[in-house]
């Protein structure tokens, strides 16, 4: 129960923090034209969540469990503390074994190039997972619709690999640091979405937007100058949202390139590489959609 409370608190805190200044996409207003159920997107979300819930979460939060289990007055190691410490250690080893490390890939350590896949389904924290899955849900559904589920899966995996490769070959220092998360692949999904549906509208949670909207709505209610329906989400153009996403990754990426290593704990280079890797989307979209795209028609 304590752990659930902790996870909920962390999620709320991180969501509020991230959605306060920058819009957090939660849904896509676009029309799905081929299939109504994006089962590959759902499957990917399920796999990511399952990996975290059943394999990673006991280890990811082992340090917190250790703190809870630790009794400074009792030097004896309790079972809880023992298990927490064991999990903590295993968690670290897992990240270093299955996370994307340039050294692992280059030297064929651990599972070698398989880390391209294993790292893609691992996450560093609950809020990391939820944030990524929100983006995947908001942008992935329509892209899956445009590609078909299997092509979308191939595209997703390719973008994940491009993100890992990009980060590994551009960095000059700290090559041994592991990188986990679906962010690179999802950045590719965002890039693909930007290429195919730049004019689409995305529902976002956005603190500033919500405050402005509430003020406007309140004034409209008082003075009656407009029929405004109050909603929790703010509607934004995908183009602006994704251009902002790219810009927010370009600046730290340049810093990483200059510094030679990642010093902030977020692999911006992987995000940017995945985003740019989205250009391969044209190899995966449906043929009729591609014909429409290049004739300037709606997708």
């Amino acid at each position: 129960m304590g752990m659930l409370f902790f996870l909920g608190f962390e999620l709320l805190r991180d969501m509020l923090f991230s959605a306060a200044l920058f819009p957090l996409p939660v849904n896509d207003y676009g029309m799905v034209r081929y299939r109504s159920i994006p089962w590959m997107t759902i499957l990917l979300i399920f796999i990511n969540c399952s990996v975290f819930a059943f394999w990673q979460s006991p280890k990811v939060y082992a340090l917190e469990r250790m703190i809870v289990a630790l009794d400074p007055d009792d030097m004896n190691i309790s079972d809880d503390l023992y298990r927490a410490t064991r999990d903590y250690y295993d968690g670290v080893v897992d990240v270093w074994t299955f996370g994307y490390r340039a050294q692992t890939v280059q030297m064929g350590l651990g599972v070698g190039a398989f880390v391209a896949f294993t790292s893609m389904f691992m996450h560093g924290s609950f809020s990391h997972l939820i944030g990524n899955m929100l983006y995947l849900w908001a942008f992935g559904r329509r892209l899956e619709d445009a590609c078909g589920p299997w092509r979308f899966l191939l595209f997703y995996l390719c973008c994940g690999m491009i993100a890992g490769i990009g980060s590994a070959i551009i960095k000059t220092r700290g090559l041994d640091l592991p990188s986990v998360g679906a962010s690179g692949a999802i950045a590719g999904v965002l890039g693909g979405y930007l290429l195919l549906f730049p004019g689409a509208s995305i529902a976002c949670l956005w603190g500033i937007g919500l405050i402005l909207r509430t003020l406007y709505w309140g004034m409209a209610q008082i003075f009656g100058f407009d029929e405004v329906k109050w909603t929790w989400t703010v509607r934004m153009r995908a183009f602006f949202l994704l251009a902002a996403f790219a810009a927010m990754n370009i600046v730290p990426s340049l810093e990483i390139i200059q510094e030679g290593s990642n010093i902030v704990g977020i692999d911006y280079l992987a995000h940017l590489s995945g985003f740019l890797g989205a250009l391969i989307i044209f190899l995966f979209v449906r043929k009729d959609l591609l014909a429409r795209y290049f004739s300037g028609r709606r997708l």
């Binding site: 670290v92 074994t97 050294q103 651990g110 390719c158 490769i165 009729d288 709606r298």
Partner: protein, 568 residues
């Protein structure tokens, strides 16, 4: 109506008591302007005039209102006899009623021009100038007067009067085809079938119309037309609209369907409220076999204004079949049918015009709209798609594109049969294989080696075979090569896998061959994976040390047992 009656009474009194024909003409004309159905006013006006042709026009008007008006019949006989006399013996033609000057213009529903009082000619001359007008057989439409005589007596051929005499024989049978008129009792008694009330398909051939049938114009005719049009323009600029109309009518006597003259004349006549005259000009052109859609459109408008839907619709059917009917005409007609929810007729018009306008986005979009209204989504999507494929730079193209986004996408033979599209998808497999190989080779292209490159090649070929077997089994040339046949059913507008399948003319690879291709492709992909990921697969069977670094500096517990546990 009271005012018209008062003016009529005043006019009669002026003519009878004061013998002032000029004033009487003005009063009677004013009265007739307000109420053109007053047959007695027409007769009195005939008496007030002194030119036989004008008098006859007035009498014809009166007879058209009441064909059994004995006074009118008698007066006509009298005037005709008088005119005949004057033509043969050239005596001074006595004015039937008085010797008042002839009015410059007859502003009644039948537009007729006369000489002005200043230029009035002696009766002999007047009689010489008019006889061909009165004789139906002598309706010499090309006999326009020289320009200097324009303001003189030679005027507009009394179209209706001429047609009246020609159609009198057949009109009794036509009356059955007439739609209900505003005043049935009068209509039934008329010998003259109002042309507008009779569907054109049923109209008899008219001698006069035959004479005026569009023909090849001589150079002199063209010159005369140009001169008349110039003259009309001068009149228009001088705001002498009636005189301008006179010129245009003369042009129409030379060429019955001269577009500019017709357009101008009808516009001005409508403006001056001479709808009857405008109508006659238009119908005369139609009977003359005009091919100008604009004249048909005008006729349709007139018929619509008179509430004659049958004629209007018949004209609509005819106009779209004209060789000169362009896209805008078709659209105009189709839009009317769409507006009135006559979707079948709209569709008929649009479909018939499509072969001559295959790239008309407007027509295609309208066909889509009609099918949409009829609830046939597959057909409407098909036509929207065709319109959108012609380009989205136009308003119609954008509209079609927008409409298309409401439907599931269309898959055409162009996309289905494309080899390039299939190889593009195969390249997707190749890209994935290359990325795997690159990582497996330690992020170094130089280490890829022949086996991994072969793996990439196999992935492309295997991907192509798998794509061919699953999503592109109708590639151009390939289907026939493998003994495929064109699918006979299930592809005509059917939704399949989220896509509407358009009718196809491409043969499809047989199912058995597709299964084999798919299995071979999948096998090649597995082989490719083994080649491009050889190192990683070997490590999977016997993992190497992951070389986790020493964390003791970063993580140190106060408890030795814990430190030992994590290896510190």
């Amino acid at each position: 109506m009271d005012e018209a009656q008062n003016l009529f009474r005043e006019g009669v009194l002026t003519l009878r008591n004061e013998k002032n024909a000029a004033k009487a003409q003005q009063l009677l004309m004013h009265s007739l302007k307000l109420n053109p159905q007053n047959e007695m006013a027409w007769l009195w006006l005939a008496r007030a005039l002194n030119e036989p042709r004008q008098q006859l026009d007035c009498i014809e008007r009166a007879l058209r209102i009441n064909p059994e008006n004995e006074q009118a019949l008698a007066l006509r006989q009298e005037i005709l006899a008088s005119a005949k006399n004057s033509t043969t013996t050239r005596p001074a033609a006595p004015a039937p009623t008085g010797t008042t000057p002839v009015p410059a213009f007859l502003p009644v529903k039948k537009l007729t021009t006369t000489g002005s009082s200043k230029t009035a000619k002696p009766p002999e001359q007047q009689a010489q100038e008019m006889p061909q007008v009165r004789s139906p057989s002598a309706q010499n439409v090309s006999a326009a007067p020289p320009p200097e005589k324009v303001r003189q007596t030679q005027g507009i051929v009394p179209l209706r009067a001429t047609q009246t005499q020609n159609t009198a024989v057949v009109s009794s049978s036509q009356t059955q085809a007439q739609p209900p008129a505003a005043n049935p009792s009068k209509r039934e008694t008329q010998n003259i079938a109002p042309l507008a009330a009779v569907p054109l398909a049923e109209l008899p051939e008219i001698e006069s119309a035959r004479a005026a049938r569009p023909r090849q114009l001589s150079i002199s005719d063209k010159r005369r037309i140009e001169a008349l049009l110039d003259k009309a323009n001068v009149y228009v600029e001088a705001n002498e609209l009636e005189a301008a109309v006179e010129q245009w009518v003369k042009v129409l006597q030379i060429q019955v369907d001269h577009e500019e003259a017709m357009r101008s004349a009808v516009r001005v006549l409508s403006k001056l409220k001479y709808m009857e005259d405008a109508k006659e000009l238009v119908w005369r052109a139609l009977n003359g076999g005009t091919e100008h859609p604009s004249i048909y459109l005008t006729a349709i408008e007139i018929a619509e204004r008179e509430g004659d839907r049958v004629t209007a619709d018949d004209l609509r059917d005819r106009v779209v079949q004209l060789s000169q009917a362009n896209e805008s005409v078709v659209i105009h007609i189709a839009d009317y049918f769409i507006r009135t929810k006559a979707y079948a007729r709209a569709l008929d018009v649009l479909q018939k015009s499509l072969p001559s306008h295959p790239d008309s986005q407007k027509i295609l979009v309208r066909i889509g709209n009609v099918y949409d209204e009829m609830g046939n989504e597959a057909e409407s999507a098909h036509y929207y798609d065709r319109a959108a494929q012609l380009g989205t730079g136009t308003k119609e193209g954008q509209l079609a594109d927008k409409k298309m986004s409401q439907y599931v996408p269309m898959l055409s033979d162009k996309e289905r049969g494309s080899l390039l599209m299939a190889w593009r998808e195969a390249l997707g497999f190749g890209t994935a294989a290359l990325l795997l190989a690159f990582q497996d080779a330690g992020l170094n292209f130089l280490n890829l080696g022949g086996a991994r490159w072969m793996g990439v090649g196999l992935a492309i070929v295997g991907g192509y075979l798998l794509i061919t077997a699953t999503s592109s089994p109708q590639q151009r040339g390939l289907g026939r090569l493998m003994g495929g046949r064109v699918p006979e059913e299930g592809f005509d507008g059917e939704e399949h896998g989220g896509v509407i399948q358009q009718e196809t003319a491409l043969p499809m690879i047989p199912a058995a061959a597709r299964v084999i291709l798919g299995l071979v492709g999948a096998g090649l992909l597995v082989g490719a994976l083994a080649l491009v990921f050889s190192t990683a697969l070997r490590l999977l069977s016997s993992p190497a040390e992951s070389q986790v670094p020493d964390f003791c500096d970063a993580v140190y517990f106060f408890n030795d047992e814990l430190n030992r546990m994590i290896g510190c």
